[in-house]
Symmetry: C2
Subunit: 367 residues, 2 copies
């Protein structure tokens, strides 16, 4: 694979990646390989990771980063974003608000043209008791903070990044396609700057569609995990029929959600939904959490046990907040039977086997 950098020094643009966990660190590979100056900033929770990266190996990815990537500790955010045209937010959903509040103070600095924020954080945030999509919240916060900015001058462009990309695989050059949901068409060309032979950036018009897919796929991946947990317990062998049913229903419920939110469902049936749920349902923390629950674990306990082991199942929070958000946009319970089944199991503590069987027995009963 071509890793040579043939871009002239004068052309080099700067990219700051915020969050030195799996995904933030993995995305530095294609950013560097596509000819950018890359800084990797770790949050206050990532100081040990930054130490380890400086010593040679990223502890989560199990390999060194590219030589040219600059690792920076949590007290050096200013240095990380200084002059950076591209800012990748790659913290977990819990860290999003505090990190964004720190970042916002650095956005007064001018760079040539509006900055672009690429958001890899998935999920919902809460503001004054109201649940919002991440980009929605950020937009409101920017409007407040930059209220005196001249009208018509955008503070920044927002891009939601989704699609089927497991961080460890990306860092090892496994061919991966990533969906970049943009608002302005002009930003599509910016997104395409990050392409490498192994990192296929696919631009898509529609921030919210990508964002909704990214959040809800974690929720439905827990459902596939629950199915695994139930049937692994019952039988040694295969149970693909049942998980295929849940997979398909998950995709179709995400399409109902995106349609209701005014988005574009081609994202759901493409990389954003189908592609991403395919990987997330097969491996990772949300599936693992679901599997523990399906095997009989108490959801809250399983969540905390995984968290203590450094494995945050983001789907838990996305499910709890996602249902509130769905209600807030006028969505009906009957339209999303699997989502509410998962809510009953994971948040309300209903027996998973009974709940999943009951969902399946009602499946397709509309006729």
């Amino acid at each position: 694979m071509n890793k040579k950098r043939t871009i002239k020094i004068g052309d080099i643009k700067k990219a700051a990646v915020l969050g030195a966990g799996y995904m933030g660190s993995a995305v530095t590979f294609p950013l560097y390989d596509s000819g950018h100056e890359v800084r990797l900033w770790g949050t206050w929770l990532d100081d040990d990771i930054i130490d380890a990266v400086k010593a040679g190996i990223h502890p989560k990815l199990g390999r060194p980063l590219r030589d040219g990537v600059t690792p920076l500790h949590s007290d050096r955010l200013k240095e990380a974003v200084s002059g950076a045209q591209y800012i990748f937010i790659a913290v977990s959903s819990e860290g999003f608000i505090p990190v964004f509040e720190l970042l916002i103070e650095h956005l007064f600095e001018r760079v040539d043209g509006p900055r672009t924020v690429f958001c890899l954080t998935k999920g919902f945030v809460e503001m004054k008791g109201r649940v919002m999509r991440t980009s929605e919240w950020a937009k409101k916060r920017l409007e407040e903070r930059f209220a005196d900015r001249p009208v018509g001058e955008p503070v920044l462009d927002w891009v939601s990044v989704g699609g089927p990309v497991k961080a460890v695989e990306l860092s090892r050059g496994i061919p991966s396609a990533s969906l970049y949901g943009v608002e302005r068409e002009a930003v599509m060309d910016t997104a395409l700057r990050f392409r490498t032979p192994y990192y296929r950036v696919v631009p898509f018009q529609g921030v919210e569609s990508v964002e909704i897919c990214a959040a809800f796929k974690n929720v439905y991946a827990m459902g596939i995990g629950i199915c695994d947990g139930i049937f692994k317990k019952r039988r040694e062998d295969e149970y693909h029929n049942a998980s295929a049913l849940l997979f398909t229903q998950g995709i179709n419920e995400i399409s109902v959600i995106v349609r209701k939110a005014g988005g574009d469902t081609s994202c759901v049936f493409g990389l954003g939904g189908t592609g991403d749920l395919y990987v997330t349902g097969r491996s990772g923390r949300n599936r693992e959490f679901g599997e523990l629950v399906g095997a009989g674990g108490e959801p809250g306990e399983c969540f905390v046990r995984m968290l203590r082991a450094g494995r945050l199942a983001e789907g838990y929070d996305a499910l709890e907040k996602g249902v509130l958000w769905w209600q807030s946009i006028g969505g009906e319970k009957a339209a999303l039977p699997l989502l509410y089944t998962l809510h009953e199991v994971i948040i309300l503590g209903k027996n998973p086997q009974e709940a999943i069987y009951s969902f399946m027995e009602e499946y397709g009963e509309t006729r």
Copy 2:
């Protein structure tokens, strides 16, 4: 799970299943459990299977059939279909024409109302040098044979059965959803007769959409297998990003095919495409065949070796005929880059790693 039969003797309808391999035998479970009289007819290749079933155990499913199911040898087709309102064709695509030619002679017998044929056979057939969908061929053949039938009296109703159902799992009561593509809306209610708590029949208006999904999902499952073969060889660990890309592309190419054929793409994004490719890409003969090819095996040799072991990879024939059929309906090569990549590898013998990498490097290059 409720396996009691509470239907009165007078109501019992008769179902004949033709083909005693995996799927034909597995479908006898819900047919019996939903209150039908079931005959399982084995082809001339299935005589040993019928012997074994009579002795107690179905050799492929590894378990006995329901007590009430009648196993019949290949010389007893007449008995199998006599008075049967429902005929399930569950032979492999290779066996379809010879079995249908035998069956057609028994279709002169009247039952109350038109008979319904449920076709579980997937793929294409050839007639006088022209490649056709199975149902298209059958319809032409029926028109020829029953040319003197009074106009307006249907010989039979045709239903294409698809969706994510692995036979072994179905026979073990793993909850499964099956898609029944019908032509006349009235037939939907017939399809619903086969529902059990573990077998969720979902009727769908559109024979050809279900049929196209069922045939092409075997083709794209070979592609996911090829991806497995390539990356397993290269690395010990995970490579979900690449297979998610192929999975998503496969679904979207099937949607292009169905749209071109005048079908309904909701089938593709539902159980017919997404659901079925999910299971077929994870396990089974087509994926296994692809894996051998991805690992460096010569496609023709791999196909024959599997065939000799009783494992027919139906996707091979579906790919070869499917490309011809696509051309015959005026489809363009450029619309289906993954299909043609698979054709190059499997039929024309191109190096799989080069072909898949080249596909991936061009992925999303339309912008």
